[in-house]
């Protein structure tokens, strides 16, 4: 090498190598709560357009669903990534990944500044719409 200083790394150490394959990198649980009444739903969501009557037969017709939301941003009191209904609700259902992003009522909730059951004022999903699943790099 004619006495030149080498331009290559002398050694490379990685502390995380392969961890990306493990998955579970913080993907949030998505859920929707069921309330025994419209009034209970409004306690959490405050906006009538976010509460819709149950029509899928899973609960009595007097029940109402709130909008889909990220559990891990809502009810930290009950622990992250566990399905726990809001104290105002009777039950909670885990939803498929992507439900929050594609739900019109969840989008309305974000615009109105809600992110889950009313205990948190954190809204999510305000970045990422341009990227979809394509690479953002170049």
């Amino acid at each position: 090498m004619r006495g030149r200083v080498r331009k290559r790394s002398a050694a490379i150490t990685l502390v995380l190598a392969g961890s990306a394959s493990l998955g579970g990198c913080g993907s949030p649980v998505e859920q929707r709560d069921a309330y025994a009444s419209r009034q209970d739903c409004l306690k959490d969501w405050s906006e009538s357009s976010l509460c819709e009557p149950v029509s899928d037969g899973r609960y009595a017709s007097s029940y109402h669903y709130g909008p889909p939301y990220y559990a891990s941003s809502g009810w930290s009191l009950f622990g992250r990534n566990r399905i726990s209904p809001s104290p105002s609700a009777m039950d909670a259902t885990q939803l498929p990944k992507g439900s929050v992003a594609s739900s019109p009522s969840a989008i309305r909730a974000r615009v109105l500044g809600f992110s889950g059951g009313g205990s948190s004022s954190i809204s999510r999903g305000g970045f990422g719409s341009s990227g979809h699943a394509s690479s953002s790099g170049g």
Binding site: K7, G26, S73, S123, R124, S135
Partner: protein
């Protein structure tokens, strides 16, 4: 500079995956060690010199955009002009960038473009081709000190964060971006950061601060997500109050834009490493390359050369185009390599080579290792 055929290591997949490089076969073949590129030491020295010089010219160009308020030529929305200007005036810290050159080892490398904001192929260039060299040509050298320079740079960025954590964000469900961000998180951990990954879609806003999924404040954010997308999305308006320091910083909007090519030519007319570039095609004859101001991975690039028109599809171009002189990529056995030259902080840090069967480098272009002797 020459292309050498080589026998791939029998365990190349395992070796790649040991390095966290899990997207080695995206699109069929991405990592390709059936060949490599060989350089002379003098050629590598030239690439290093030109990279350092292009970096300095780009800094001067950023200064010129701010001084002359030419933000609109860069399609930067008006509410973000001051953000970019102040970011430059503060010299907000940058981590890295990648210049793409057309060169065959003779004459002068020609700058095709600068990926100043969200360059990828980093893990491949830093770790995977180094590991290949260790296994295959342990006595040879390689222009690649990316790993230690990234760690050094990330260490240097820590004091400004006041002991806060570093969040690293990329889009959901993209293995390439995830691999790139996880590699940078690895470097950040080694640099002493409390480094946490988050999908960009999961970033929260509480009215004052960005929050992660644990509701912890996001105060320093590395985002593998272009500024031009951030500023046009729902949360973009929140960036104006600077609730977090972003890496890359807002002034990189001035460089991660093909309008930079026009400005560089205007400020350095006739420079041997630059190609003529204008906002209109009239200065060229029949031969030129049309590039959208904002695009990635060759999308919507059109090459008109010697009566042949080659066009890449895509969804870019709405903000306008620039027109650049043609510097045909050299052909080695029918393959067209682009040399990606990395800058970390202010230092040239290595190269990576992408090769394609087409003269337009695309997202699917293969990555080949290199060495020099």
């Amino acid at each position: 500079m020459r292309r050498e055929s080589r026998t791939p290591r029998s365990n190349w997949r395992q070796r790649c995956e040991e390095a966290g490089f899990l997207f080695h076969s995206m699109g069929g073949t991405y990592w390709d060690e059936s060949a490599c590129y060989a350089f002379s030491a003098d050629q590598i020295d030239r690439l290093e010199e030109v990279t350092a010089e292009m970096h300095q010219l780009c800094l001067k160009a950023a200064d010129e955009v701010v001084r002359s308020k030419r933000f609109s030529q860069f399609a930067i929305p008006e509410p973000f002009h001051e953000l970019a200007a102040q970011s430059w005036q503060r010299r907000d810290a940058t981590l890295y960038g990648r210049f793409d050159f057309s060169w065959d080892g003779e004459g002068e490398p020609k700058l095709l473009e600068y990926n100043a904001d969200t360059p990828t192929s980093l893990l491949e260039a830093s770790v995977v081709q180094w590991q290949w060299l260790e296994d295959v040509l342990p006595d040879a050298d390689q222009f690649n000190s990316l790993h230690e320079k990234l760690i050094e740079r990330l260490k240097a960025l820590r004091p400004a964060a006041g002991g806060g954590s570093l969040h690293l964000a990329s889009v959901k469900d993209n293995d390439e971006d995830l691999g790139t961000v996880e590699y940078l998180r690895d470097c950040a951990l080694q640099a002493g950061w409390d480094a946490r990954r988050i999908d960009i879609e999961d970033l929260g806003w509480d009215g004052t601060h960005f929050r992660d999924l644990d509701e912890a404040p996001v105060t320093t954010l590395f985002k593998l997500y272009p500024w031009e997308w951030l500023v046009r999305e729902e949360f973009g308006q929140h960036l104006i109050s600077r609730p977090a320091e972003l890496i890359e910083p807002a002034w990189k909007m001035l460089l991660s834009n093909k309008a930079l090519l026009v400005l560089l030519w205007e400020m350095n007319y006739g420079h041997p490493n630059l190609l003529p570039a204008y906002f209109t095609p009239q200065q060229f004859g029949a031969d030129y390359v049309r590039k959208p101001l904002l695009s990635r991975e060759g999308a919507n690039v059109t090459i008109r050369s010697r009566g042949v028109v080659r066009q890449q599809p895509g969804s870019y171009g709405g903000e306008g185009f620039v027109y650049q002189g043609v510097a045909p990529l050299p052909a080695f056995e029918g393959r067209y390599p682009v040399i990606g030259a990395w800058i970390v902080g202010d230092q040239p840090a290595g190269i990576g080579i992408r090769e394609d069967d087409s003269p337009i480098t695309r997202n699917s272009s293969r990555f080949l290792p290199h060495y020099f002797a």
